[in-house]
Every structure is written in structure tokens, then in C-alpha cells.
Symmetry: none
């Protein structure tokens, strides 16, 4: 059973956008035991798409196409597919109804291009797309499957998770597969690998351990494939316990959920409220906290204090503190936490201040110098980071570290 991904778009070939869809699909399918042998990107030309589909279908059992399904002229994928299967294009009433309904709902009228969009190759099986107007399409020939999806990431992701995955599991699945994910923060991949070395060396053949690093985070994923699902689950659970015992100090979850979701759970359990006082992260920590459904139960608000005057006026940071220690200092973030607790009347507050770059550093405080503080009325913890010069990377990393500090603060509390 072999899978190939074909991504369509001139904009990828000329480097205007980076193909993140394939990586996402790769992760998802790999997790469910499907092996991707090749990723191919071609332009919007008819001939290019045709021969990519042709050789993909010759080489693999399943071909996943993304891109080229929008309503405009440069999207000719559907016609090429009809051509490849040697079928006519037919009008899909189902799709037309859906599009009409959607546009009525948002109070707009449809255009001829939208009607055009409803013509599909006659042999199609539609895959419902909750997130947009272009449905996914499933085709079969000689027991092989071709699937075409829009290139818009959240539409593609919805169709993959809710439509494609269950259907291909039914059609192609053989050996049971299972995973366990352990989420860690704070130390790098190679150091974690060292600490779990002996556990990894003693894994049975049918279990693999993968390290999936992102900024400041590493996910450890155990993947097993075995005829007996029961036995597989027993062994996986045992191995998770062994790893947990070895690196308990850096684990924030033994399931595949994000740090903000973990923090969300803990804050609700403990009935605590939180606010943020952000300088260098410019609201990004608040955004991360409020990305989780239900966050209004504990998140009350923030003061984003980019300018020093806002730090003084809105967060009661002392002028002398700023003069003596600077805005990027332990003293300033500590006062920011205190000011924020008072102003926002929450149980916990987080503060950040730093130089995110690419410019703005000094010899004493180079670009990438960042202070984080977190605390309540009784206690304030601080952390200094020394990062690189990449602005967005620094913002992301700082938010990850701040959320991890919050997580540790929440599990450390004897009295919530």
C-alpha cells in the first residue's frame, strides 16, 4: 500500500508560497500507518497535471491531489481529471445547492463562476467540505484511488480528517496501528534522545520512537503496528510509563494536546483567572490562551504595553526601575506582573519584555534577550531567554516558554 501526494500550483514552483499541506498530510497519514513514497509539485498547466496524475496512479495505490479547485480560470484540475478517466463533466446539483445556500446565508449573491464550479467529472464521489464551497472528490479505477482536494489548508484539513481518512482506512487498512504521544518542553531533541536511549534500544521491532521538535517543544511519538491490538496497547502503555519515569521533569502532557489546552484544563479545574502584561510578545500569549474554546472562563484580559509610558501608566512600573534596569529586565517584568494583577484583578499574571529583533540590540542586551515573569500575590517566578535574531521565531519561542512556565506554576502550587 503506497501513497503519493501531488500538489498543484505555479505559486509553489516559484517559491511564492511554501507547501505546508504536504507535510501536514504526511504527518497525518504516517500516524495512521500509511506510507508516503513521494511528494510531487507541478504547475497549473494541463499537460503537467495530467502526466503527474498518470504516473502517480501507475506508481501508487492512492494519490492525493491538493490545489487547483477554486472558481477561477487557472484552476483546471477537474477537467484534467475528467480527461484522465475519460468521462464527461456533469453538473452537481448537490454542490450548487450548497453554494447557493451558503451565499444566501452570508447575504451575497452567486456569480456565474460559482455555477461553473459545480461541473464535476461524471465518475466523482463527493467528499463533504464543511469549510468551503469546493467539495473534495474521490475517484476509483482498477482498485486504485485518486482524491482531489482544495489547496486552502483548513478546507483540505477538514476533508482529510473527516472524509478521506475514515474512507481510506476502510478501503486499505490491514495491520492495526497505535500511537502514544508524550509532549515535552524546555530541552532539545538530542538531549531527550540521550536520556531515553536505553528505553529506545529495548523497544520491540514493531514499535518505533520518533522525536518531533518544534520551537522549544519536542513531541515523542511511539508508533506500533501489530496483529494483536490488545497486546500492542499493553506494550505501548508500558513504554510510556518507562519514558515518563525517565523524563517526568519536562513532560507537560502524555497525550497529543497543546500546551494551551493543558493550561486551559488546569485553570478551569482550579477555578483560577489569568491576565497578561505583554511587551515584546505584543499580544501573542493572549492570542494563544484565547485560541482555546472556553478560555473566557479564566482569561479576563491583558495590557499590551509596548511603549514605556504604557508600562508606567497602565501597569504601574516605576520610572526609576525603567531607568536603572531598562525595560528588558527582571525588575521590570516583575513590576509588570504586580501591576497587571492589580489592574486586571486576576489570580495569576504573565509578563514579557525583550528585544525581538532583527535590530534594536545593545552590547549589554543583544537582540534575543527576553525576560518572562509569572506570578500571583504571593510569589513571582522569572526566566531569562537568550535567543537569535529572527523576530517571529522569537515571539513564538517566548510564548511557548511563557506557557510552559505557567504550566509549571500551576502544578507547583500547593494552595491553588
Amino acid at each position: 500500500m503506497d501513497v503519493q501526494i501531488i500538489t498543484i500550483g505555479d505559486e509553489i514552483l516559484i517559491g511564492q508560497i511554501i507547501d505546508t499541506n504536504s507535510a501536514w498530510i504526511g504527518q497525518l497519514l504516517n500516524k495512521h500507518g500509511f506510507r508516503i513514497s513521494k511528494i510531487v509539485t507541478v504547475g497549473d498547466g494541463e499537460q503537467e497535471i495530467f502526466s503527474a496524475i498518470e504516473s502517480g496512479m501507475n506508481q501508487s495505490d492512492l494519490v492525493l491531489l491538493t490545489g487547483g479547485l477554486g472558481p477561477t480560470k487557472d484552476d483546471i484540475t477537474k477537467k484534467v481529471i475528467a480527461n484522465y478517466f475519460d468521462v464527461e463533466m456533469e453538473f452537481s446539483e448537490e454542490t450548487w445547492e450548497k453554494i447557493s445556500k451558503f451565499f444566501k446565508h452570508i447575504g451575497r449573491t452567486t456569480t456565474p463562476a460559482h455555477r461553473e464550479q459545480c461541473y464535476m467529472p461524471a465518475n466523482v464521489n463527493l467528499l463533504y467540505n464543511k469549510m468551503g464551497t469546493a467539495p473534495g472528490m474521490w475517484f476509483e479505477k482498477d482498485n486504485k484511488v485518486l482524491i482531489s482536494m482544495p489547496g486552502v489548508p483548513y478546507e483540505m484539513k477538514y476533508i482529510m480528517e473527516h472524509q478521506v481518512l475514515p474512507k481510506i482506512k476502510e478501503k486499505f487498512r490491514t495491520t492495526p496501528i497505535a500511537h502514544r504521544t508524550i509532549r515535552t518542553a524546555g530541552i532539545g531533541e538530542s538531549r531527550i534522545a540521550e536520556r531515553v536511549q536505553s528505553i529506545e534500544a529495548n523497544l520491540p521491532d514493531f514499535i518505533k520512537l520518533a522525536f518531533l521538535p518544534s520551537l522549544g517543544h519536542v513531541r515523542l511519538r511511539l508508533t506500533g503496528m501489530h496483529e494483536s491490538e490488545e497486546e500492542l496497547n499493553l506494550i505501548l502503555d508500558k513504554k510510556v510509563k518507562e519514558i515518563e519515569a525517565e523524563i517526568s521533569d519536562i513532560i507537560y502532557a502524555s497525550e497529543d494536546i497543546s500546551l494551551e489546552e493543558v493550561v486551559n484544563k488546569r485553570l478551569i479545574e482550579k477555578g483560577l483567572t489569568i491576565s497578561t502584561a505583554e511587551s515584546c510578545t505584543g499580544g501573542y500569549i493572549a492570542h494563544r490562551l484565547t485560541s482555546v474554546t472556553g478560555s473566557s472562563a479564566y482569561f479576563k484580559g491583558s495590557v499590551i504595553a509596548y511603549a514605556n509610558e504604557i508600562k508606567m501608566e497602565q501597569l504601574n512600573v516605576n520610572e526609576e526601575t525603567l531607568e536603572k534596569h531598562g525595560a528588558v529586565s527582571e525588575a521590570t517584568v516583575t513590576e509588570m506582573v504586580k501591576g497587571c494583577l492589580k489592574r486586571m484583578q486576576t489570580d495569576i499574571a504573565i509578563a514579557t519584555s525583550g528585544i525581538m529583533g532583527p535590530t534594536g540590540g545593545t552590547p549589554n542586551k543583544p537582540v534575543g534577550t527576553i525576560w518572562i515573569a509569572i506570578g500571583n500575590k504571593e510569589e513571582i517566578k522569572t526566566l531569562k531567554l537568550q535567543l537569535g535574531k529572527h523576530r517571529l521565531k522569537n515571539i513564538e519561542y517566548t510564548a511557548n516558554m511563557a506557557l510552559n512556565l505557567l504550566f509549571k506554576f500551576l502544578i507547583d502550587r500547593k494552595n491553588p
Copy 2:
């Protein structure tokens, strides 16, 4: 003249890392008039690499390989290349000297794996790598070229810019290529397509128009290839003007820069300061504004007012307004702007309030009901959105619309 990129690595197929090398190469080559017809990613297996090289060399004049040149066991690219050209592996004294010197310099000793690394296919032309120990490799056969480079981005980039680009420019004569990008916000791809229909229909054969949509945004890209660069640029500029005249109301930039960068420029030009008062976007607009280098020149801070009490206490929203109209109302966001202007002492303020979902709606105000306001002391503009139930999508879309409203507000101002 046709180029193909082949990226080698299991870690890309399983989505552990995203292939950013290909996009970078695509941008560089496209800028210099080379057309990339295909990007292929394959795993670390000998057979996979061999057939990717074989079909790449059959289809294209130039094949660029990245990855698979490190000192570890799974890097077998060089042997496959020797195999493909049917030549022996030979020890490269030049490379060995360089590696020995480098390790002496950093005070370490070499390992047998480093000597192993110096065996190269006999028909190689080495491409100097200033950034690392593995050189790039140039091979020719039947007037076609195969180039192999390490996958480490800064090493690959050095070799591409300083070695590959000058050499391929010398070897392959290319047709000049040029692009123009127009960025729009506010209306969908199919509606824009309709409005520029006649312009698109009258484009010469050598110019293509592509629509690249994202949430609330569409980029229009004109790509042309022509023997005369001068003529090409003249026609492209003329076509851009035609499009601009047709859809001036939705264009925010006639170059490829983001809305926040455009807004950044305008605010700096006009010497205006800005703050945000965010409820439903939870700091995300502030994050977008502060993602741009130099934003501290105009962005002073924000009040994120998730809880109603914060709206009242920090932004002076009247209790009666909240009771009568609700937190998600035109009246509330208008008061939030006023309160924010006063509190943050900025020239302009943006406010948002809405129900982001997936739950929390009422019959009168279903999930996806969002109000945005933007204004200064003289004037406040408001906008109502009616979106879907996808929380992150709603946050992203609302921020895009708010930034677009800010852009329009800035160009509407008679007196800055």
C-alpha cells in the same frame, strides 16, 4: 530550458520537517528566468533516489538535488549518483584537506566517517561550500546537468548563490521572466475574476494571470516570459494599471507585501500612533501589528478586554450599553475605541467584539457575529461580520478585515 528539484529525506515524507529549501530555490531561479517544472520529494532509499534522478534527467535539462550528503549512514545519495553515471567512487584529497583543516581549527579530531565522506563519484566537479564540510557536486551528461547539494539550508543557499547560479547562467541561455503582484482584501476570488474578466481575456499569450486566495485576501499575480525584457516590463506595467483601474477599491498593495507591512509604512509616513482594544480577537491584531519590524514607532499598546468588567473598568464602556446592546454590538465597539484612545493616548484605535465559537451563540447573535470599529477623535467607522463557527478561522479573518479597515481609514484621512 527546464529545471527540476529533487529533495531527499524520509523526514519530509512523514511531515517531520517542511521542505523550505525548494521554495527558496524556486524564488531564486524564477527571479533569474529559469522555469522550474517540478519539485519531487523522495525518501532515503537507494531505488527511490535512483529513479527520481533518472526520470528527472530524462524530463529536464537541469536537476537540482538537495539533501543526503551528510556523514551519517542513511545518506547514500553519492553512491546512487555514481551508479547512475556508471562511474567509480574516488577519494577527493581536496575535500579531505578541507575537512581536516576545519576540524583542526575547531580543536577536534576527525572520525572515520569524515574520511568516508571524501569519496565522490569520479566524474564530479566540486562546488566550493564555504559554510560546511560537504561540497556541492556538478555532473554533466548529454549536455544536461545534475547538481547535488547538502540539505542544510545555509549551506545549500551559499552553494546556490555563489556557485550554481553563475555557472548555470553561463551554460543555459534563458528567456527573461517577470512578475507583478497585486494584493487585495475584502471580496472573493470569483468576484474579482469577474471584474477583471475582459482584461484577462485580452492578455497576450506570454502573460498569465493567477488568483491566490487566503482568508479575506486574494493576490493577483501576472507572470510573463518574453525575449525582450524591456517589452515584457512595459506590457506588465500596463496590465497592472488596467487592473488597478478596475479594482482600485479593493487593492491594498501593488507589490507583494502583507497588509501589516503596508499599514506599517503608512503609519510611519503619517507619524500616527495606534492602539487596540480587543475582545474576541484576544490580542491577535496587536500580534499582527507587532510582527513587523519597527512597529514600536507607532504601536503603543492594547487593552485586551475579554471580560465585561475589563471593558467597563479599563475602557470606560458603560454598563447600560452592555446591558442594552450586549457586548457584541456596534455601540460597545464604538465605546471601546473611545475608551482606548483616551487610555492609550494614541491617534487611532481599533476595537473588536464578537462570538468566535464554536459555541456561545444566541438566536439573535449566532456564532460568527463580530463587530469591528476603528477611529480617531473625530470619526469612528464600524463593520459587522457574519462568519462561520471555526474559532481560529474567525480570529484570522476578523484580524484581516480589521487591518483592511485600518488601511482604508488611513488612505481616507484628509487630515492625518
